[in-house]
Symmetry: C2
Subunit: 152 residues, 2 copies
């Protein structure tokens, strides 16, 4: 799918204001409501817009801690890594999981209420997944930026 400059404008606006009304969106991108809506539908159908989400304030709902966990597995074979991925993506505390090319096998970003809650999570969930050899955690002191907005 080819995107023109109006599509780009639409995406930029929707990344910032996901619940904007079509009438206002149309005004902002310089289109009348019907073609604007049609473009949005096309972007949704093409999967360029994966979905819409409310963004919550983690500390305000009691999640005061973010942790990065670096995970090493006992082997790099497909069975071991696939099994790990399947388990980990089901854990709602794990908000990111990246299969790495270099040193360690995975980097996870995990949210938790506090350090105790994280320790419990690691012992009861992460550490119990088959094939996990070791876990090293790194704790951010401050979240300087956390954006769902992509540049375009």
């Amino acid at each position: 799918m080819k995107l023109d400059s109006i599509d780009h404008r639409i995406l930029r606006v929707l990344q910032k204001k996901g619940r904007i009304q079509n009438l206002e969106l149309a005004k902002e991108v310089g289109l009348s409501p019907s073609p604007c809506l049609r473009r949005v539908r096309l972007l949704e159908e093409a999967g360029i817009i994966r979905g819409y989400a409310a963004l919550l304030d983690a500390p305000k709902i009691g999640l005061k801690l973010t942790v990065f966990a670096r995970v090493w597995l006992t082997g790099q074979d497909v069975e071991t890594t696939d099994h790990f991925v399947q388990q980990v993506i089901q854990l709602p505390q794990v908000v990111e999981c990246h299969l790495m090319a270099g040193d360690c096998d995975f980097i996870l970003r995990i949210v938790a209420a506090d350090l105790d809650a994280y320790r419990q999570f690691q012992v009861e969930h992460l550490g119990r997944i088959k094939g996990v050899k070791s876990i090293k955690t790194e704790i951010p002191m401050q979240e300087c930026k956390l954006s769902s907005e992509l540049p375009l």
Copy 2:
């Protein structure tokens, strides 16, 4: 602000379907439309709902690469770190920036079109920020999970 179980249900639904209509949301949480809308407005005003966003598919808009960059600064003093943060949060390619407690000073997650685009970004933007001593990059081979949904 105290959240009851209906507020939790509202937040869970809105995290998944940020553009759901109030009528349908009310049905899903077992409320009639007006009190449902009232609760949503209160959650927004309290800042528990920070906003709404369209989630885009990075590869489909040409961003095929994610990079983790670990950054060390020449000093840990407030001026050096503050300056770095102020510069980095303005760069749209930087989607996450965490000030770390341990080994390195910052972990950034950066999106780019490809490795060439990233290299250029590092040389022209990241590396030029005052106080940056060294940068080590780590490249994920696969994004297994990347969620904006918090557990509750």
